[in-house]
């Protein structure tokens, strides 16, 4: 269950909106921050908070790139694979991360820290090749820079609690 104070905050935001549904994506982002992803339980709780059916919320959850209906790592790495990053050899970025983390695209590391996904153009074509980690952008990637980013995330990460 969502903590009471977070639930109150969300209810307040929903009541201030023009229409509860307007808050659907924001609410799902908050649930994801709490649960790590939109589990079936999270879907149920979120839809009742929003006054939507779970099916209505499912239509949105499965539509958007940044809403996850499956368990993902604490850090979701999304590497841009659109045309400018393609010109700047985004494949080598993906390959380097695959090698370092020992996972393939769409997979999560055994320690639950990292998930690797491709993503369409993130609007950093002036700093290609680029990727995002939990909506934070890193550009002009080189193998050394990727290593630095991964090490920093590993060192400062709190491991997700096992259930």
């Amino acid at each position: 269950m969502l903590p009471d104070d977070l639930k109150r905050l969300l209810s307040e935001r929903i009541s201030k909106a023009e229409d509860p549904r307007e808050q659907a994506v924001d609410v799902m982002f908050e649930f994801q921050n709490h649960y790590g992803y939109m589990s079936d339980q999270a879907m149920k709780e979120a839809s009742s908070l929003l006054g939507m059916t779970t099916l209505e919320l499912e239509e949105l959850a499965t539509f958007y790139d940044h809403i996850y209906r499956e368990q993902v790592g604490k850090y979701v790495i999304q590497v841009c694979d659109s045309v400018i990053c393609w010109m700047h050899d985004h494949i080598s970025v993906i390959d380097h991360i695959r090698y370092r983390l020992n996972i393939d695209l769409g997979e999560t590391t055994a320690d639950g820290l990292f998930t690797l996904l491709p993503v369409c153009c993130i609007g950093y074509c002036d700093r290609a090749p680029a990727m995002t980690v939990n909506r934070r952008v890193f550009g002009r990637l080189t193998p050394e820079k990727i290593d630095r980013i991964l090490t920093r995330l590993k060192d400062h990460a709190e491991y997700p609690e096992t259930e």
Partner: protein, 424 residues
């Protein structure tokens, strides 16, 4: 290198945003003080109409005309939707603008809202622009504290507020009608007008969708007048400056504010630092991923709406993606169509079925399984894209169709060699 007047980027700093005070010192919020509550809303529209400002989000629709299409007796409340979704490959100008001078955008939004009596604006921001969303939220609060926003703005009697709406991230959300569905928390499929959003938009109320760059021009037009704005452009009949985002095979990719009508060769050669040594210009997409390839023949074209239309292309968002001689355009087009096929919302058949079909044919050509008859087949398929609900599908086939028009030899070379000739 010529120096051109900087209007939208006049307060741009290398590593930080311009503060509200810096914006005010450059004349910021003066138009808001002079117009809101003191002049009739129609006067704002009239000034913008006289300036010839055309929308900067891709379609180039005259800004004033869009506001005027809100019916005089239209219902209230009315909404302004500010499109900063910017998910088309190659496009990043809105992000740079938000990071340069957010208060210019805020003032533009209030003035636009005043022009057609809106009471609320939604700024739609994509997930990878989370920092832009945070900057806007922080600066909106500062504007509220100064009385530029909220109830009874500067005691004018006009009330208007702005909310940042975060997207879950899909390209189709940038399409006007899909964007409205996204904000209302519905599945963001486009709908086919009529009714147009300016008549029945968000929650069936009149709603205007404007691009961020379009709105940033409004305070300057009101302060300096339409003639001044027209003189900024180099083309006759053009008006204003434009933010050009240059990426791909250039030495200095970046976003540059330059006059409309500047020659493409000058943008690439002077401002983006030209192509790296040993590379030679082959083609570019002049206005984002949904425009046609532009070849060396038109390298000196004037970058404006009408001048690009005259050579069979579009200015789009003026996101210039440069490809050199060593870049395989079949591979590039395959990447582009892959993007569009993935980002199609899947609602209507021509788009859902057509784009993966073209992608598969291009994939076969790129990877040595191409056949001669694929060329006329792809050509025919491209024509069906116009049967779709929205502009995603015709936009998606623009690079494909122009690849076959201008680079048929390169495509055929793939088929003859049974491999990509650019790969060892």
């Amino acid at each position: 290198m010529d120096h051109y007047p900087q209007v939208l980027f006049q307060n741009r700093q290398p590593n930080r945003i311009a503060t509200m005070d810096e914006y005010r010192r450059s004349g910021g919020y003066q138009a808001l003080e002079d117009f809101v509550g003191k002049r009739a809303p129609a006067e704002v529209t009239a000034r913008v109409e006289a300036s010839g400002l055309r929308g900067r989000g891709g379609a180039g629709f005259p800004a004033a005309k869009k506001w005027q299409s809100v019916p005089v007796d239209g219902a209230f409340p009315r909404y302004l939707v500010v499109n900063s979704d910017e998910m088309e490959p190659g496009t990043f100008k809105d992000r740079i603008l938000i990071h340069a001078d957010p208060h210019m955008i805020i003032e533009g939004m209030v003035l636009a809202g005043y022009a057609f009596s809106a009471s609320k604006a939604f700024v739609f921001v994509r997930p990878s622009y989370e920092t832009s969303a945070l900057i806007l939220e922080r600066e909106l609060e500062l504007a509220r504290q100064e009385g530029y926003l909220g109830k009874n703005i500067l005691r004018s009697g006009f009330s208007f507020d702005i909310t940042v709406h975060r997207s879950g991230g899909r390209y189709i959300c940038g399409e006007g009608t899909a964007l409205l569905n996204a904000i209302m928390g519905k599945r963001p499929n486009p709908t086919k007008p009529p009714p147009y959003p300016t008549v029945k938009g968000l929650w069936d109320r009149p709603t205007v969708v404007n691009n961020i760059e379009t709105l940033a021009n409004i305070p300057h037009i009101l302060r300096n007048g339409g003639e001044w704005f027209k003189d900024l452009a180099l083309t006759k009949g053009g008006a204003g400056t434009k933010l050009y985002g240059v990426s791909g095979r250039v030495n200095h990719p970046g976003c540059f504010e330059l006059p409309l009508g500047i020659r493409l060769s000058e943008v690439i050669g002077e401002f983006a630092g030209g192509l790296p040594g040993g590379s030679e210009f082959k083609a570019c997409l002049p206005g984002g991923a949904s425009t046609r390839f532009l070849t060396k023949e038109h390298y000196d074209v004037e970058m404006d709406f009408d001048t690009l239309a005259a050579v069979g292309n579009r200015l789009g968002t003026a996101a210039i993606m440069v490809f050199d001689r060593k870049t395989c355009l079949v591979g590039a087009t395959l990447n582009l169509i892959q993007f569009f096929a993935r980002e199609s919302c899947g609602w209507c058949t021509p788009c859902r079925e057509l784009l993966p079909y073209i992608r598969d044919l291009l994939w076969r050509i790129e990877y040595g399984e191409g056949r001669e008859e694929f060329i006329p087949l792809i050509r025919d398929l491209c024509k069906f894209s116009w049967n779709s609900y929205c502009a995603l599908s015709p936009g998606a086939t623009s690079p494909v169709e122009s690849l076959l028009t201008y680079f048929e030899d390169e495509v055929r070379e793939h088929i003859l060699q049974k491999k990509c000739p650019f790969k060892p």
